[in-house]
């Protein structure tokens, strides 16, 4: 996909979103509708203007949008899987898995460095956020077996 095609797709997506949200904004009452309606109308107008404005093609237009589309998709997929697993599996377990899997699938094979990074980062996070700041993190799935509740 070229950058120009991606730009058109992005603008179209914005146009469809703005047009789709307009009936919802118009349904508000008591003055609540004015600001969102004005903004949606302005967004529609600007996106249409950007989509149909006449302009000379630039060399950048024909450049590919993605440096490597499969890798970008894989990264997104891994992040989505991580977010899905996070509440059920726990922060530290999913984080260790994400670090390992992300490094491994993108071709990094030095296990010693990966392991050291995982241990160092998780130790730092545990010390700073769990111990010092008492931050609520997603609970580890195995904790009930250890502490019994």
């Amino acid at each position: 996909m070229t950058r120009r095609a991606a730009e058109r797709g992005f603008l179209l997506l914005l146009i469809v979103s703005a047009a789709g949200l307009m009936p919802e904004a118009l349904s508000y009452r008591g003055g609540s509708q004015y600001f969102p309606v004005i903004l949606l109308a302005a967004l529609l107008a600007c996106c249409l203007a950007a989509l149909f404005r006449p302009r000379a093609a630039t060399p950048e237009d024909s450049e590919p949008f993605f440096l490597n589309a499969p890798r970008a998709a894989l990264a997104l997929l891994l992040m989505a899987a991580y977010t899905l697993a996070l509440p059920a599996v726990g922060y530290f377990t999913t984080s260790a898995l994400l670090m390992f899997v992300m490094a491994w699938v993108f071709g990094y094979r030095d296990l010693k460095v990966i392991a050291a990074t995982i241990v160092g980062y998780l130790l730092f996070t545990w010390l700073v956020f769990t111990v010092i700041f008492e931050r609520d993190m997603a609970r580890e799935f195995f904790m009930p077996w250890i502490v019994g509740y």
Partner: protein, 499 residues
Amino acid sequence: MFDPVIDAIPAVLTWKSLLCMLIGMIAGLVIGALPGLTVVTGTALLIPLTFGMEPLAAMGLLAGMYNGGSYGGAITAILLRIPGTPASVATVFDGWPMTQRGEAAYALQVAVVSGTIGSVVSAISLIVLSPPLTLITLAFGPAEYFWVAMFGMATVSMLLGGDPLKGVIAALIGLLLGVVGQDPVTGTERFVFNDLELLDGFSIVTLLTGLYAIPPVLLMCEEAAKKGMSGELLRLKRVKSVFSEWTRYVRVWVRSSVIGIIIGILPGAGGAMTSIIAWNDARSTSKDPDSYGKGNPEGVAASECGNGADNASSMIPALTLGIPGSGVAAVILGGLLVHGLRPGPQLFRDHPDVAYGFMLQMLITAFMLIVLGGLLATRIFGQVLRLPPILLAPLIVLTSVVGVYGIHASAFDVWIMLAIGVVGYAMDKLEFPTAPAVLGLLLGPMAEGELRLALTISMGDASILFASLASWVTITCTLLVFLSPWLRSAWQRRKAAAG
């Protein structure tokens, strides 16, 4: 005038505040040095982590990040010819040729001393100029604040980049994201779609983290670079001292500091522009302009001093009017709002410890830079640069999640962060500037709220918006700022036609 500053000193010098400044500074040095990660990304990453912290400790973290990050970019600019941040582009011009001549250590020393001087002068300007400005804003009511918000929105025209239409679209996206949630006046649910998690609107933290932290992760994964910096480059040895040659740099330091402060105060004008203008000024006023770009240490001094000088000064309009002078200032403004602190006179009146404390933290972190940005520290913190980017990518995701998940202990916020991250990635690639979106997000609710408050007070009479001198002054400034790109290009066309 300086009593509140003196009163804030004990709170700033507590161990918690000092520790936060130190951590922020170290994190800033590392983030700034990592190519692809900017100070804005670092600040956006830190804000969610400040939840639950005392406001002053949180601001210390951000002050450290700002000053540390803006210098950190010089490390890779000098050692690798890769500007760590856009603001260190001009440092490459002379820093890299110095490295090739074997003077990397000296170039880094010139950079850190110049950056410190610029940052210190800038922090002093923040302390001196902010209080008088807040006195002026005491005369402001809802109508005037509406126009101030409009003025802030008009500065978007200066943040638009090469394509004004794309900038306006970005600003509108930000404004619309700010609308989601309950209407502050009538309580009407807007774009909530019966989802309770959207009732309070999007968290600024989630949006900022998504917009700035996720796009570089996706880029790093696309590139999948498996090699970090070579350890050899970090074996730096001191050969001479910048302090023994200080007279050589005084002229550059003075001029670059003034340039940095002025550009920093102008809304939307800071960042990369400052260091390039400072470098150009140093070259054009030098007795030996041809040596610039070929390893003249004065070029490094000008770039880094100008870069440091626009840091604290960009917070002057942010703290007094709620209008950020740069992208980083916009994100720090978001950090203030997260802690329930609204910029303007009420911040100075109700939370003087935070307002003046933050100014002092900008000053203290500027001084910290000379210790932590030195050669020994560069050797220690620079070790992170040896990590391959593909290992850094998950670390950024995980740090973002620590903060964002902690807001409501809910994965919903993480999903929003990812979705906004994808939008930010597309905007980056398609050259839609993200700064107007942030400004729209921050100023949209303010503009709408103040307008409706003013109209409620006047029983719907719109003339209240034009009833005071302060309103008219702000309207004039708004028009001037909004039209400035067009006025500038018209003036340039006329100049070109004449000459």
